[in-house]
């Protein structure tokens, strides 16, 4: 029997909404860093399990609702 493939999660940001409030980086220090201008740098790769936990926290913490999680179908 094939194992059910895990969902792959990617953190995304709508940069036109983000106001650089930086709440996200505070609750997800290992996943989100800030650039020199105070705006979050979001990992582009599929999240590891630990990062995913943090990412979900960041999504909830963002006062602007600029962050969201995209789920990608497992391929291969």
């Amino acid at each position: 029997m094939k194992k059910r493939a895990p969902n792959l999660e990617v953190l995304r940001i709508d940069p036109t909404i983000c106001a650089g409030v930086a709440m996200c980086a505070r609750v997800a220090p290992n996943t989100i860093t800030l650039d020199p201008w105070g705006f979050p740098i979001i990992p582009t790769d599929v999240l590891t399990e630990n990062m995913a936990k943090e990412a979900h926290k960041a999504v909830r913490a963002c006062p602007k609702n600029a962050l969201f999680i995209e789920t990608r179908e497992f391929e291969g």
Partner: protein, 413 residues
């Protein structure tokens, strides 16, 4: 099949001075007999297949296949909007101005054809409010049609002359009556504005080509307008896909650095451009972009580092100020670049600038910051000797000659 019979020359600072062609009026244009209606669905389908075969892609810079874009909009219910995008964002470009000032009816025919195909009920011409000569010509064209007994109902929407107001998602937002700024989308491959009903925006040259294909067939899609930058003029010239840049700019000698595409594009050595064909598809296959069709051969006396700094400053000021990495990041890079261009900066400061340049791509809501950074990076690669000299405080240009057209900053916000 060319649109123009000769080159059209514009002044460098504004669109007022123009030499060359005479403007078509409706009665001269009518002699072409371009049919903008379709007798049946089968005829419409036949024309779309022709457009597909012609390989016509959008001339605004993104080069999306035109037939596919129209077909997607045809999936939506009738009653949508077609926009002729005449908001030429690139200060160097004058091809849309050339079309609207000399062949307005051809562009309007293209607009009518697309409107027929998607059964749109609203027609819009979207233009910067400082494009006075083009605006005048459009108003006149509409009046001529009315007097000739073939009135059309077109809205002319004007907006401040910002680079980003011609960007596709900005246009659609503006036509909907929302703030004119780029919108963020997840799926960048999908044309913006599809829906219920669709708002379809096409670049002015694209519309003119659609009308040309309707009249002359697929050959009409194999010419492209270029704007050649000079110190005091911009020349709009029409090149066939089979022409090389060397043939079009036959007077270019030596191997001068050349701005290729537009302000969100790249610096390239003339030697690597001259044998390329003026064809968006061929260029794309080699990883290059035709962009807005701007070619700027750097004149003797202009420092390429200083010129790049002038453009970076302008591009930074053109940010729609929505995304931090764009409006904060680009402003920071532009300032650092100008310091680097005009005074000796330390190797550390230079290094910081490089790191920061690397932090911007991919992080804006639209392609504006990526294009700006592309230009900066291509300058650093191509002008490595000049970079060295600048770092040593030994720029060989006492006073660099201003070359690339950079409009005075319009007041923002």
């Amino acid at each position: 099949m060319k649109i123009f019979s000769q080159d059209i020359v514009f002044g460098s600072a504004n669109h007022e001075l123009s030499l060359g062609e005479t403007r078509e009026n409706f009665s001269t244009h009518s002699k072409l007999n371009i049919v903008t209606t379709f007798g049946s669905n089968a005829q419409a389908e036949e024309f779309l297949t022709l457009l597909e075969t012609s390989g016509l892609t959008g001339h605004g810079g993104a080069h999306f296949p035109v037939a596919r874009k129209i077909r997607s909009a045809m999936q939506s219910p009738a009653g949508g909007t077609v926009v002729a995008n005449a908001a030429e964002g690139e200060p160097g470009s004058a091809k849309d101005a050339a079309l609207w000032q000399f062949r307005p009816h051809l562009v309007i025919d293209g607009l009518l054809i697309v409107a027929q195909l998607i059964q749109a009920k609203r027609l819009v011409i979207w233009i910067h409010n400082d494009e006075r000569a083009s605006h005048r010509s459009i108003v006149e064209a509409i009046k001529e049609r009315e007097l000739a007994g073939s009135p059309i109902h077109v809205e002319i929407l004007t907006m401040p002359p910002r680079y980003i107001s011609g960007e596709n998602s900005s246009v659609i937002a503006g036509v909907r009556g929302e703030a004119i700024a780029p919108r963020y989308r997840l799926d960048k491959a999908r044309p913006w504005g599809l829906g219920n009903p669709s708002i379809l925006s096409h670049n002015s040259e694209t519309l003119a080509r659609i009308a040309m294909v309707r009249k002359y067939g697929v050959e009409a899609a194999r010419s492209h307008l270029l704007t050649l930058l000079g110190l005091d003029r911009r020349t709009v010239t029409e090149a066939a896909s089979s022409d090389t840049y060397g043939q079009v700019l036959s007077k270019t000698s030596g191997n001068p650095p050349t701005l290729f595409g537009g302000y969100g594009a790249t610096w390239m050595p003339w030697d690597s451009i001259k044998n390329l064909q003026c064809d968006p598809a061929t260029l794309r296959a080699t990883g290059l972009s035709f962009g807005a069709g701007i070619i700027g051969v750097l004149p003797v006396g202009s420092c390429p580092i200083v010129e790049t700094g002038r453009v970076l400053t302008w591009m930074a000021g053109q940010s729609a100020r929505q995304c931090g990495p764009c409006f904060r990041g680009l402003a920071d890079i532009a300032q650092r670049w100008n310091d680097f261009a005009t005074k000796a900066i330390s190797a550390d400061d230079y290094h910081t600038m490089l790191i920061r340049i690397g932090l911007i791509p991919g992080r804006g809501g639209c392609a504006h910051p990526d294009g700006t950074i592309r230009l900066a990076r291509s300058a650093l690669t191509l002008f490595s000797d000049e970079v060295e000299k600048h770092l040593e405080g030994k720029c060989e240009y006492e006073h660099s000659l201003d070359f690339l057209p950079v409009p005075l900053e319009v007041a923002t916000s």
